[in-house]
Amino acid sequence: MTHPNITLHSQIPELVEHCDSRRMAMWAAAVRSFNPLHFDYEFARRAGLPGPNVNGAFKLALFGRTIHEWLNGECSIKNLSSRYLAMDIIETDIRCGGEVTELPEDGRSVVSLSMWTEGSDGQKTTEGTAKVQLR
């Protein structure tokens, strides 16, 4: 077992990901969805935004990576949820973190987490939850 020491209210180490148009172009290729709102400045400005905004689904996927890296991959994610609170305009560093909210006494079954992201300005842009089976 290579899990970190997990206790109730343990903080999940924060992951920081720089989100620019290159990253969003990679995401577009990954999901095969090419809405220019997420990587094209001109298009985003015409739509009334200060710049392209980061896909919500990208932030949900970051929750998964944050958990995977915290547990060194010794886990199986059972549930993930997200609520998008504010837009993240690109050229931002998205910080992603979380906290253990429920921990079964045997320490081996399903751990519940609260998750969040925030942008470079410190504003919370996503909140969510996860349930993770330790392996």
């Binding site: 995401w27 990954a30 919500g56 949900l60 996927a61 970051l62 059972k78 993930l80 949820s81 998008y84």
Partner: protein
């Protein structure tokens, strides 16, 4: 009511609530799993090398959380869509409000999934910019062995 006085949720739209779409076919290709992992920034090599994935107990490269493969796209022929896309609303700006995924099994490279969607609810709300249409759609993914492997639920706001 919208600016013109028309209801945001029309009777026609309401009839779609509860309906399930025809199944759509998703392929979970190994290259696509790797591309998704790369885009999200994974460094763990189990997402890139099948041998390592198998040594770690997976059948093949795991589909990273949030990835369900891709539908067949034929340029110019239109893409089959879930029911949410059929909503005929003048509110054209579409924003993701949230998502929930529940995994009931694992999804790995080489799997083929069949996905159906169901429109769960439609609601009219008022926002700073005017009327909003809030829709919730549920997806179910079944694999090639007819096992239900995941469900997801998406909330979309049209404004």
């Amino acid at each position: 009511m919208s600016e013109k006085g028309d209801p945001v949720v029309t009777d026609e739209m309401r009839q779609l609530i509860g309906q399930r779409s025809a199944p759509l076919h998703y392929e979970v290709e190994s290259g696509a799993c790797r591309m998704f992992a790369w885009a999200v920034g994974y460094k763990d090599r189990i997402f890139y090398e099948s041998e390592r994935a198998r040594s770690a107990g997976y059948r093949d490269l795991p589909a990273p959380p949030g990835f369900f493969g891709h539908r067949l796209v034929i340029p110019g022929a239109g893409t089959p869509q879930g029911l949410q896309r059929f909503l005929d609303t003048p509110l054209k700006v579409r924003l993701d409000a949230g998502a929930e995924i529940e995994y009931l099994g694992d999804i790995c490279a080489g799997d083929t999934l069949s996905g159906t969607s169901r429109l769960v609810s439609l609601e009219e709300k008022s926002g700073q910019s005017g009327p909003l249409l809030v829709s919730v759609t549920e997806f179910e993914y079944t694999n090639q062995n007819n096992e239900l492997v995941a469900k997801s639920r998406h909330t979309v706001i049209n404004r």
